[in-house]
């Protein structure tokens, strides 16, 4: 029974990712360098809406769009741009996930 109470490695790993605040690095953002926060927010929102339609939206995207919008409303263009780029990155990642999962799920079905 004590063994059962031990945190298994998998569990711990899952937890780290579940509870950690780490976010994907917004490196490969599509937005042009000169894009304004407002533009990137719109792009993120559009991608997010598409992900929602595919039932694959991430909660993180909505949070980031909201914080970007708040930053923009407070005239913090720099922060708004950072959050908007992250939002766009996660929205695109969720769309890629939706695309991949159209087929990938089959390999997991109990045989």
């Amino acid at each position: 029974m004590h063994k059962a109470r031990l945190i298994c490695v998998v569990g711990a790993l899952m937890l780290t990712s579940a509870c950690g605040q780490s976010e994907p690095e917004p490196e490969s953002v599509d937005a042009l360098p000169e894009a304004t926060a407002a533009v990137v927010i719109d792009q993120a929102r559009a991608a997010y809406e598409l992900a929602r339609q595919k039932q694959h939206a991430w909660t993180l995207t909505a949070d980031l769009i909201e914080s970007a919008s708040i930053a923009l409303a407070n005239n913090d263009e720099a922060q708004a741009l950072v959050d908007a780029k992250r939002a766009l990155f996660t929205a695109n990642a969720s769309l890629a996930q939706a695309e991949k999962e159209q087929h990938a799920w089959r390999s997991r079905v109990a045989q």
């Binding site: 029974m1 990712s17 579940a18 694959h56 909660t59 996930q97 999962e101 997991r108 079905v109």
Partner: protein, 276 residues
């Protein structure tokens, strides 16, 4: 000669259609059950209806103590009173269900060929209200939880025997896909936690098996401090992996319930239940 040939042909055709209709979900179910019997060789498949409490003796002991006077009792009482209330037109819920609504929860979800969709108990309750010119209940409302709790209580011990007719195969398959599709920032599907890691600890929690996931709803969750339906849990599960939850009783969730409940065929209904 002619007649017997006709009968033969009919038989073959019927057999053929039975096979094409039922082979897939049923072989899915057998594989599903086999997965858990291999993973937990010492646990009777039926025992998984108690979720993580089938897998951890210490937690089970405390839970059983709680079940002596379970927190959903009050909800069942409320539900019984609500269920008996007459609509403005003089009808009541009993008129909308088989056996006056007593002991019928194991029939749900069912595929309704007329409306071409999966009908859960919650949906059927609202259809009943609509048919009697009553406003629909919100799916997360206490009233919905209470009525379903009462209907589950009267159905305890009844065995699930969900069927998937030809017209329902697409809905079943969509539910199955939803189950195995990865979602959210964590890139998890239902099987990541409840198959691959079933029985393992996630911090202090033991991950339950998916077989039995649909037998015990609605459930009083201490975290919610109230009785809630399976779809409320779906939203929570989705959110726990960083995915946005869908609307309770949305088509996707009803299809998921259809798949999950089919996987529970042969198991007994044991709702309402209590969970942490």
């Amino acid at each position: 000669m002619k007649i017997s040939l006709g009968i033969m042909l009919t038989l073959v055709l019927t057999l053929g259609s039975i096979c094409s209709v039922h082979a897939d979900p049923e072989s899915d179910r057998l594989a599903f059950v086999r997965f858990y019997t291999e993973r937990f060789p010492n646990i009777d498949i039926q025992a998984h209806q108690d979720g993580a409490y089938a897998l951890d003796a210490a937690k089970r002991e405390q839970w059983l103590e709680m079940e002596e006077f379970p927190p959903y009792e009050l909800a069942v009482d409320e539900g019984e009173a609500l269920f008996a209330l007459a609509f403005k037109n003089g009808n009541n819920y009993a008129g909308c269900f088989d056996n006056a609504g007593v002991g019928v929860k194991q029939q749900f979800p069912m595929f309704d060929a007329v409306s071409n969709q999966v009908v859960t108990l919650e949906l059927a309750i609202n259809q009943c209200r609509q048919a009697n010119q009553e406003p629909e209940l919100a799916y997360l409302s206490d009233e919905m939880a209470y009525i379903t709790a009462y209907m589950a209580f009267t159905s305890r011990g009844n065995t699930f025997a969900i069927s998937v007719p030809q017209a329902g195969v697409a809905a079943y398959e969509q539910g199955k896909q939803f189950f195995y599709e990865r979602r959210g920032k964590l890139d998890f599907d239902c099987s990541s936690c409840h198959m691959t890691n079933a029985g393992n600890n996630l911090r202090a929690e033991v991950l339950s098996a998916s077989v039995g996931h649909a037998t015990h709803w609605p459930t009083y969750r201490f975290k919610w401090e109230q009785v809630g339906g399976l779809h409320k849990r779906f939203v929570e599960c989705n959110e726990q992996v960083g995915a946005e939850g869908l609307a309770p009783q949305s088509e996707a969730y009803r299809n998921l319930e259809y798949f999950l409940t089919y996987m529970n065929n042969g198991m007994a209904l044991n709702g309402p239940a209590s969970r942490k």
